[in-house]
Structure formats: structure tokens, C-alpha cells
């Protein structure tokens, strides 16, 4: 079964605005990861946050993790048209077999 569920399913913003996507999961985790997928391509790893971390930054990306609520958020600041893609969170049931949600489709309008 799906482990991570992203929200919203789709998000449309103007260039320069911030984009926030959320992920909820069901079981205890060792870490949570976010991936990006350009249309029709494979997924690319963006960032990993461990269960003992609450926040992590990488460039324009900010990820938070709340293990008490079993949720995570991905914030993309100062979005660009090139950020248009689908974004997925992923968790591992036993640190090996990764499960993904249905993703959030982000559209950034120039």
C-alpha cells in the first residue's frame, strides 16, 4: 500500500512565489525523502531528512518533518518556471523498500 500521500494533488503558482507541498505517512520511519520528476522522465532525489531532524535546507528547498503528526512539508522558495514538475515523498518501511505517494503536480507560470 502507499506509504506517503502528498497534498495538494496539483498546485499552480506564479514565478517568484513560494510553493508548499505536504506529505503524510502511516508508519514509523527512519527517514523521509523528496523526489522530483520532470514529465515522462525518471525521478531525481532532492533531499533526505532523518527521523531525528526537524528541518533541513538545500538551496531554495526547505523540508520539515513532524514525526508526531507523521507529516512532512517541502517548501520551494522563489519558484522558477523550471521548477515545474511532479514532486513525491518517499518513505521506507524497513529502510530498504521505498514507497512513494501519488505526487504533487507543480506548475510555475512565467
Amino acid at each position: 500500500s502507499q506509504q506517503g500521500e502528498e497534498d495538494p494533488q496539483a498546485l499552480s503558482i506564479q514565478e517568484g512565489e513560494n510553493a508548499t507541498m505536504n506529505c503524510s505517512y502511516k508508519t514509523s520511519i527512519n527517514n523521509l525523502q523528496w523526489y522530483r520528476q520532470n514529465s515522462g522522465r525518471g525521478l531525481v532525489h532532492l533531499i533526505l531528512i532523518r527521523s531525528n531532524e526537524r528541518e533541513k535546507h538545500s538551496g531554495r528547498l526547505r523540508v520539515t518533518l513532524d514525526t508526531s503528526k507523521k507529516s512532512s512539508s517541502l517548501l520551494i522558495t522563489a519558484s522558477r518556471a523550471a521548477d515545474t514538475a511532479s514532486y513525491f515523498c518517499a518513505t521506507a518501511l524497513n529502510n530498504n523498500d521505498m514507497r512513494f505517494g501519488a505526487g504533487t503536480r507543480l506548475t510555475v507560470k512565467p
Binding site: G40, R41, G42, L43, V44, F88, M98, G101
Partner: protein, 115 residues
């Protein structure tokens, strides 16, 4: 750079055919995965393998089998293709049991159409 290569980008097969999707990785990863991706359903894990000749069922293994004879190669087999197996198939690999977490590396995907 890690490279996960899927042998075919686009395939069209007939119902009932046996279909092989091949995947090779060059990073000496222990884990390899096959997912299928359908609109609105995200990625669903079909099978994964954590070592040569080892395999574990994912969430939707029915109608599929896998083979891992060598560490770098993981094959997905559709014994008798059906139209409901029309989908995009993604192969991926990762190290196993890294305390820092196992980042997954994906291939570019194989679009399979069963007619």
C-alpha cells in the same frame, strides 16, 4: 554519476506476449526495484531485490516476475502481457541499509503499451 539504464524506452506488445524489461546499474548497489507509474496512482512497487538471486514482492506483484542473476542487472518479466499492464515502468537502485539513508536512483522509464 550513478547510472541506471533501462533497455527500452518505448515498447508495443500484443496481448499474451511474454515481455522482458531489462535494467542495469553501474554503482554496485545491492538494492534494485521495479515500479509502475499510472496517472493518479503514483509509483507502485512491483518487486524489489536486495541481493543477487533474492527477490521480495512489492504491493502489486501479480502478473509479474523478476530475475536477478547478476548484481548489476534486474529484469522484469510479464509472463503473458495484458492491456491493464499498459503503463510506465521505472527501474531504480540503491545501497542497502545505509545508516544515512538509502537514496534511490532511477532510470528514465520504459513506456509499455499492450494492444
Amino acid at each position: 554519476d550513478v547510472k541506471v539504464t533501462q533497455s527500452s524506452r518505448y515498447l508495443v506488445k500484443r496481448t499474451g506476449e511474454k515481455v522482458f524489461l531489462e535494467c542495469v546499474q553501474d554503482m554496485d548497489h545491492e538494492n534494485m526495484f521495479w515500479y509502475r507509474q499510472d496517472p493518479g496512482l503514483g509509483l507502485r512497487l512491483i518487486y524489489f531485490s536486495y541481493d543477487v538471486k533474492m527477490k521480495e514482492k512489492g504491493d502489486i506483484p501479480e502478473g509479474y516476475s523478476v530475475s536477478r542473476e547478476k548484481k548489476e542487472r534486474f529484469s522484469l518479466i510479464l509472463e503473458s502481457a495484458s492491456t491493464n499492464q499498459t503503463s510506465m515502468y521505472l527501474c531504480a537502485s540503491s545501497f542497502r541499509d545505509r545508516i544515512s539513508g538509502n537514496t534511490i536512483y532511477f532510470g528514465e522509464g520504459s513506456w509499455l503499451t499492450v494492444v
